[in-house]
C-alpha cells in the first residue's frame, strides 16, 4: 500500500527517533528505506513484547519511539503493553499490520480479522484503520493528535494485497 520511502519520510517529518520492530511481509520491507534516510533508527527485537518495553525505555530516556509490528505480535504483546501504556501511562504510538484484512487468499478464515480490533479496544488503544493509499496523511494526523493528547495510539495498516 505504501512504499518504504513514503513511510520513512513520514516518520522523519513526525520526529520519530526510533522504530522498534519485528517485521512482517508488508511492514518489514520499509526498514531499508527508514535506515537509508538515517534520521530514524531501526531497533530490531526478537519478540513483539520486547518492542513495547524497549520503546518505553526510549520514551523514559527522552526520545520519540514508535512500535511497528504485525497484529499477531500485538496478541503476543499483552502484558508488556499493559504495563507500558496503562501502569506507566506512556503515550506510545504504534503501526500495526492488519494481516489478511484486504485479502484472505493466503489464509482463508484468518482469525486475525476476528480478534485484532477487539483486542485494541480491550487495551484502550485509540486506533485508525488504514485501507487505501490515499490515507497516508491520516497516519500522521492521528500520531500528532495522540501526542497532543498525551495518550497511546495506533494505526492499523490493512494487509493482503499490494
Amino acid at each position: 500500500m505504501f512504499s518504504g520511502e513514503q513511510i520513512a519520510e513520514l516518520l522523519e517529518d513526525l520526529g520519530v527517533s526510533h522504530v522498534v520492530t519485528v517485521p512482517d511481509s508488508t511492514i518489514g520491507p520499509w526498514q531499508g528505506a527508514i535506515e537509508q534516510r538515517g534520521r530514524t533508527r531501526v531497533v530490531r527485537v526478537c519478540r513483539e513484547g520486547e518492542a513495547w518495553q524497549v520503546a518505553a525505555g526510549l520514551h523514559l530516556g527522552g526520545k520519540t519511539p514508535l512500535v511497528m509490528i504485525q497484529c499477531t505480535g500485538l496478541f503476543e504483546s499483552g502484558d508488556a503493553l499493559r504495563v507500558a501504556l496503562h501502569d506507566w501511562k506512556l503515550p506510545l504510538f504504534s503501526i500495526i499490520g492488519y494481516r489478511s484484512y484486504l485479502n484472505q487468499d493466503t489464509l482463508p478464515g484468518d482469525t486475525c480479522l476476528v480478534f485484532t480490533e477487539p483486542v485494541l479496544d480491550a487495551w484502550r488503544i485509540d486506533y485508525r484503520l488504514i485501507t487505501t493509499p490515499s490515507q497516508l496523511g491520516e497516519i500522521g494526523e492521528h500520531f500528532v493528535a495522540c501526542r497532543a493528547a498525551g495518550k497511546p495510539g495506533a494505526v492499523l495498516i490493512g494487509e493482503g494485497k499490494a
Partner: protein
Amino acid sequence: MSAPRMSAKEALVAVHAARGERDVVVTTMSPARDWMTLRQHPLDVVLVPSAMGHATSIGLGIALAQPERRVIVCNGDGSMLMNLGSLVSIAAAGAANLVVLVFDNGVYEVTGAQPIPSPGAIDFVAIARGSGFASVFEHSEIDRWREDVQRILSAPGPTMALLHVEPVTGIPGPRSPGPAADRGRRFTAAIQQQG
C-alpha cells in the same frame, strides 16, 4: 557440594557504592526490593509494577536514548529466562553502555521461592557470550565481587555479569514506591535536567 553463593543484598550494596552519579540503575523483582532499602537516586528506575522479564528491554531503550550514560540493569534469573531474546536484541543494537547483572538464586523468590526451570543447569554466561555480549563475568564470592565491580561496570559493553546469590525466603516481594507514571516523569525530568 553446591557452588558458593553470596548475599544478594551485599552484592547490591557493592553496586550501589560503585554506581556513578550519571548512571541509570534499573531494578526489578527481588533486586528492586533490596535496592529500595538503600539511598535512592533520581536516576533509579524501580520497575514495580513491571511486565516480568522486561527490565533488560527497558534498560536497552534507556541505553539507546542516552548513549553517553551507563545503564545498569539488576535482573533476576527467573526474569532473565522470561526474556532471553532480549540479550540478542541488546547485542544487535550495539548497546555498549548497558550492563546486565543477573542475580542467580535458582528460584522465583518473590512468589515463595519455587524453583526456576532447570536451576543450576542454565549457562547464562554461554548464552550472553553466544548472544554477542562484549564482556561477560561470573561471580559467587562477595569479596571478589566488591573488588571487581567497578572494573566490570566499566568493561567494554554490552556487559553481563552472572552473580550467584543465596535465595531469601519469607520476605514479601517489592511494593510499589509510588505511582509509576509520576516516577517515570520524574526520571525523564532528572535525565533532562542533568543533560
